[in-house]
Point group: C2
Amino acid sequence: MYVAIMGYGVVGSGVAELFMKNHESIVSKSTQSKLELKYILDIRDFKGDPYEDKIVNDVNIIINDPEVGIVVETMGGLHPAYEFVSSCLEAGKSVVSSNKELVAVKGRELLALAEKKNVNFLFEASVGGGIPIIRPISQCLAANEIEEVAGILNGTTNFILTKMISDGMSFEAALKLAQENGYAERNPAADVEGTDACRKICILASLCFGKHVYPDSVHTEGITAITLADVEYARSWGGVIKLIACTKRIDENHIYAMVSPAFVSKHCQLAGVDDVFNAILVRGDAIGDVVFYGRGAGKLPTASAVVADIIDCAKHSARKKVFGWGDAVPDYVVSHLENETALYVRAFSEASDKLLGRCAAVFGKIETLAREGAPDDEIAFVTPRGKEGELREKLASIAGLEPASVIRVTDY
Amino acid sequence: MYVAIMGYGVVGSGVAELFMKNHESIVSKSTQSKLELKYILDIRDFKGDPYEDKIVNDVNIIINDPEVGIVVETMGGLHPAYEFVSSCLEAGKSVVSSNKELVAVKGRELLALAEKKNVNFLFEASVGGGIPIIRPISQCLAANEIEEVAGILNGTTNFILTKMISDGMSFEAALKLAQENGYAERNPAADVEGTDACRKICILASLCFGKHVYPDSVHTEGITAITLADVEYARSWGGVIKLIACTKRIDENHIYAMVSPAFVSKHCQLAGVDDVFNAILVRGDAIGDVVFYGRGAGKLPTASAVVADIIDCAKHSARKKVFGWGDAVPDYVVSHLENETALYVRAFSEASDKLLGRCAAVFGKIETLAREGAPDDEIAFVTPRGKEGELREKLASIAGLEPASVIRVTDY
């Protein structure tokens, strides 16, 4: 059986490298007598590359070669990845993708096409990089009804927040350092605005709860508004600020899904996940909480997940794996304002004691927070838990309160 | 297809409960039109139990019923579990086991028998309870050469150590509390002496490195000698004491494997694993470090892993899964004295300054540790890293040094 790779960037070249490095053991685990890399598709040439002879510039060479049974898509972006992957599936080839945008936006459609053609469409690398998560959820936790998933799914923002928390760096300085280290793009919007984490939680929500969830249905906030003052108040509360992507089952036909910064207690396993590492907490009705931790990005970690999928496709070449989810349904993702949470609030007021008194009166009870070096007119507190919409209405009703920060507080 | 459960204790009854609770979704994932529980084998009767009508007392009823395709073994112990499982496999039935002793001692033999009979022998629940670990290692990390595995694999000892670390309880008091909470048996030897963790690391070593590892080939120390003084010194060093089961690849034909208390840096993900929780760190050549965390024991978490294996057996009823390892080979597990480590040493001496000076001279350099309330004649230090045998020879050569504690120091 032959394999082709579409897209010879960081991940694609990592796949080729790892596939060759551990080739003997990979072939043996694939149960195929032969599993060879035949083509690498890229619009560029790669003079002097060890796999120069495998480079092709026309996708039709791959699509029309009946010897190619498995195609890896590591191009990223929606187009032309979507068209190429569709054509490969149509041609009866299994496809392995690391492309979270493709899976989040076109996953249901491509899974249906794969099913029709009796081939596999696998994408372990699209969430959590090398961390095993798609397969553990779909197989190892198959006896559970999944209740909730919460994850640190974006390494760039986690690196920035770690630098703010541990080294007291400002957001801007930490972002610059992330860019210098190659962890953040020159245009960091997809990371710092939460878009990347949103795509990943869409994939997990689709997988866990059985219906496709599109990114535009998920309330998404990034970390650009987080200040060092907020970081300090989170510490005094007993935790850290993390960019949390989460999804929760309400009933057969409704879920929550959201991406936003959140206070996480230091006793939660997610709180200790630092730097570019990712972690995903899955709560099942039998297993309770399990956490999967590791490198969520990077050349070889991501390739590790892609190559595991290649092996799985090869093992299942004679039959389709049972895997996937159903069509999206309207009003499936309920507004985050219905979700139960607590809110951390920071504000300024010249009559801060009186303002805190009014806040306490409105909420019944608040947990006031302090930090060293706070300006005299700064107040900060955490509300009791309640429906987010109701909490926000109460906040809006408090005369003189104009919050500088409002951040959700988890109960993990 | 029909399922039978052998052993209706805590885990067995959890399997029946979970199998019924999520039955519809379990059947759907199994790809079988029907998947029903037919028998529960136990020597006891269960008057009034919801599954009283399924209880049988003779294993031959199960072995001789051609409708039973999958048998669950949750009896524990080596005999008669071994004989019953062998007979079921011989009769062409797939077997799912949660029995770590059985897998650690008879795993290779039973896997070979399953292969011969073209059925499956799966045991996800035998390590880490409900935590997905066997399947992630064998499938999700299949593209990696696994280099090392280190885990907190025994919840009882982790609970005891957590109480010593967080609440300053003595070993004896913490053990008593564990017994009162039902976390420790009246005879706690298998837990506190490390036997249970040893069986589990044997299974992981066999799976990761391809050759069967027997418990009697693995150097095993428990936690009975750990004192609160050691706990305090670990804290001042910057970490905690955990019972670590580990295995490391040396080359094609040699590995290390060991169970012992160890200093773990607070920056390692394993350090934050408290109470009865388990966690397993796996280091692969592509993925780097991944950590799997969750409940390592308990009725429903363990049942979660067993039922996932039932589903997998049902999905693979037509063909054997590719899974297992080879025969044991002589001298495969190298002495722990060859392993590289650092050692924490605590001792008493009336001339403690002079003794520390001699220690420093012998090791070139030592890291001395202090704790509040230490007796005047107590010393404690950490050696540089080196082969354990050589470090111990150096310790033995130091005049006047009679260590009260020697504990390994990890570099995770």
